[in-house]
């Protein structure tokens, strides 16, 4: 369709509901969507056929793959990820990805087909109450039963998905609404009285926060994805640099600050670094920026930073005092809050306090890091593989991870020089996330090196997406760290269930044969001597590449805060 034709469509023009769906997407500047066709969404697919050159559709091999790919796309680009599915099973298959996007604040618009409106509630073929089902895991959802509602519903969906604290939105469209004619006239959504995406910054709170920071002897900053979502990386850096504030990240905040920045003191939480966990219980002012004090970060709340005055910079008022009581809550967009706060804080270095972090870092290096990166065992360690990727790349990769031991190791050891470069399933912990998310990330950022790090368990949860890579020639790099175990569960069984390895042993197929079937270049490393070349080869390869590395079967991830323990009880072994 030529440009004038599109022009005409965006002005008032008669078209059917399905055409209105695709033209609404185009009007929202969407150029890529992920999905899977089926009966109740067929009219929309038919409309897509006419606009293929403007709106590319990626056929994943399962609807769950479509949501994770859309998440990967959204997280890598900062844009809204879009997926399309049919009614019934197509719609229910989206739920895991939607729940993942909800807990990790990822902007998604999911469009599902629905049975024709006269059939609603009759248990029709492939009918499911997806509005009811998705309600607890969507920021907003809406069922369209008339074609004329489509442009408005989609405009509202995009507005809600990406504004404020982002999240997934689901629009369910009955089949008759897809066929019905309407006068198409797309207007971006401007806002609604019941929804304040970004609360107005209260400068008196900023002042209070600044005075606490200025009088602090041992201030400590925790940052999360809020910094990335607000695109406040620069403001964040100026903030911590001005007052010499050591800063530690949640895994959702990873890559917002360069790994080698002198104030980056590492990862928080259960498998995070030693110093930031220990010193959480020693700081005098704790400044949380765009994070939500998840239980994996805090450990036992009754023994969490009780000595500290807490400042919370957060866009979502419902997060204030949810887990940790705050002294000063600064509600607003992190970019604006940080800019104002930086103006009011005094320059400082906190040299002695920073030195404390360095000392504990050294301890962790000797006890844990050095052993992980330079193991003496026959089989390789996961950390070793990540370290080689750091060593042989420019560290500007997008690292996508699945869930489990390899995820913790990748987050701990991968180095970043670029924002929005770590994509992982943080809140929901969805195994199977990585492969499709890596596909979406690569499609969103084709010029970046995208490396998916996956365990042998998670790989097999969405292994069918190799078909998507094959069909669309997606040049992702897939590294499977194979220990023939569901490693994290096994680690817990070893530590807390007397080594009773119930259902954690994996008898795996030959991944090489499978991947070859999809026409993807493969390699398998069984010996340390081959690792360097294999990683160099993978990084240099133009197309998609699958690298399997056999790693120690019963290696554990340390440090570790065991369940119910305090952050300061973090174990090095």
């Amino acid at each position: 369709m030529d440009q004038t034709a599109i022009q005409m469509k965006t002005e008032q023009q008669k078209m059917n509901g399905s055409q209105a769906v695709v033209h609404s997407l185009i009007a929202e500047n969407v150029d890529l969507i992920f999905g899977y066709p089926g009966g109740a969404i067929m009219p929309v697919y038919d409309a897509l056929y006419d606009v293929e050159d403007q709106l590319k559709h990626i056929l994943t091999r399962h609807e769950q793959g479509a949501t994770h790919a859309a998440q990967g796309y959204a997280r890598a680009t900062g844009k809204v990820g879009v997926c399309l599915a049919t009614s019934g099973p197509g719609a229910t298959n989206l739920i895991t990805g939607i729940a993942d996007a909800q807990i990790d604040s990822t902007p998604l618009v999911c469009i599902t087909g629905q049975v024709a409106s006269p059939l609603l509630g009759t248990d029709a073929f492939q009918e499911t109450d997806i509005i009811g089902i998705s309600m607890p895991v969507t920021k907003w959802n809406y069922q369209v039963t008339r074609a004329e509602e489509i442009p408005f519903a989609l405009a509202k969906a995009f507005f809600i998905a990406k504004s404020g604290r982002p999240g997934p939105v689901l629009i369910d469209i009955t089949k008759d609404a897809q066929f019905e004619m309407l006068d198409f006239n797309y207007k971006p959504f401007k806002g609604m009285r019941s929804y304040v995406p970004t609360p107005k910054l209260d400068l008196s709170k900023v002042k209070e926060a600044a005075s606490l920071i200025n009088s602090a002897k041992k201030p400590f900053v925790l940052f999360g994805q809020g910094v990335l979502l607000a695109e406040a990386e620069k403001e964040f850096k100026s903030f911590i640099e001005k007052a010499g504030l050591p800063a530690a990240w949640t895994i959702m905040g990873l890559s917002a600050l360069d790994s080698d920045h002198y104030l980056n003191v590492g990862m928080l939480g259960m498998h995070g670094n030693y110093a930031p966990n220990k010193l959480t219980n020693e700081c005098d002012v704790l400044i949380a920026v765009g994070m939500r004090f998840d239980d994996r970060v805090t450990g036992d709340l009754k023994r969490y930073a009780k000595q500290a005055k807490v400042i919370h910079l957060e866009i979502d008022p419902a997060e204030i005092d949810k887990n940790v009581k705050t002294e000063v809550a600064v509600i607003g967009n992190a970019k604006e809050s940080l800019k104002e706060l930086t103006k009011l804080i005094t320059e400082n270095k906190h040299t002695e306090w920073l030195e404390k972090f360095r000392t504990l870092e050294k301890e962790e290096f000797t006890e844990v890091i050095n052993k992980e990166l330079n193991p003496t065992s026959e089989l390789m360690s996961m950390g070793e593989v990540l370290n080689k990727i750091n060593q042989f790349s420019d560290q500007k990769n997008i690292i996508v991870t699945d869930v489990g031991q390899h995820q913790m190791i990748a987050c701990r050891y991968a180095k970043f020089k670029h924002s929005r470069s770590s994509i992982t399933s943080g809140g929901l912990g969805t195994m199977g996330f990585c492969l499709p998310a890596a596909i979406g990330a690569k499609m969103g950022k084709p010029d970046r090196q995208v490396i998916g790090i996956i365990g042998d368990g998670g790989f097999q949860m969405t292994i069918q997406e190799l078909g998507t890579i094959f069909q669309f020639k997606t040049a992702v790099k897939i590294v499977v760290l194979n220990n023939e175990f569901l490693g994290m569960v096994r680690q817990w069984q070893e530590l807390f269930f007397d080594k009773r390895y119930a259902a954690t042993t994996m008898v795996n197929p030959d991944f090489q044969t499978i991947v070859k079937g999809y026409g993807i270049k493969t390699n398998k490393v069984e010996k340390r001597a081959c690792l360097d070349d294999a990683i160099k080869d993978m990084l240099a390869y133009e197309g998609s590449y699958f690298l399997e590395v056999l790693v120690g079967k019963e290696n554990n991830v340390f440090p570790m805060i065991t369940t119910g323990a305090s952050v300061s009880d973090i174990r090095l072994k």
């Binding site: 907003w140 069922q143 009285r193 304040v196 419902a318």
Partner: protein
């Protein structure tokens, strides 16, 4: 922290499914809703839900935060019993014969200031408004005579603090314009 009774007032847009979204917030935390009442508020198009729960103040604060976070919830507030003027309505169906005999049943009705809504040959419907304790007392007093049917509404409550809904809505509408 001790649990106590709270009245939560939730103001929402008039849309299908909002009751589900509201109720999920409670059920997700396994909070049993004591009573719920819904109707249009003083502003056309804005609905008011009055929900009564027994919870700790900490928990009710979090619940209200989550309620207000919902896209189509305009405002959510919570109050203790002392901070609201509240009322419930109860209807009682009893045999007409019980009242017609001119005995103690009639005295009970008078003492409780209950209203007679309808008299049929076989049954009479009485109405009593009041706090739950009051409507329950009438129930208990009538029970020996036989109650054919009984129903009580959820609590409706007006809050004593003076901020009006219209001023809140005005402020929110101003935000969109800016």
């Amino acid at each position: 922290m001790e649990k106590q009774r709270f009245t939560i007032s939730i103001f929402t847009e008039n849309v299908v499914g909002i009751l589900h979204r509201v109720s999920i917030i409670f059920s997700r935390r396994k909070i049993n809703v004591q009573s719920i009442a819904a109707s249009e508020s003083e502003i056309k198009g804005i609905y008011r839900y009055t929900v009564v729960i027994i919870e700790t103040k900490d928990q009710v604060k979090k619940v209200v935060g989550q309620l207000e976070k919902q896209v189509e919830v305009v405002k959510a507030v919570f109050h203790t019993d002392e901070e609201v003027v509240h009322q419930e309505i109860a209807l009682y169906k009893v045999k007409t014969g019980v009242l017609a005999s001119g005995g103690s049943a009639e005295k009970i009705v008078r003492a409780h200031n209950a209203r007679v809504l309808s008299v049929e040959t076989n049954f009479t419907v009485l109405e009593k408004t009041g706090h739950k304790e009051e409507t329950q007392q009438l129930f208990d007093d009538l029970e020996p005579f036989g109650i054919l049917e009984f129903v009580r509404s959820g609590r409706v409550a007006i809050t004593k603090p003076m901020r009006t809904l219209s001023s809140i809505v005005e402020e929110l509408e101003q935000l969109i314009k800016n």
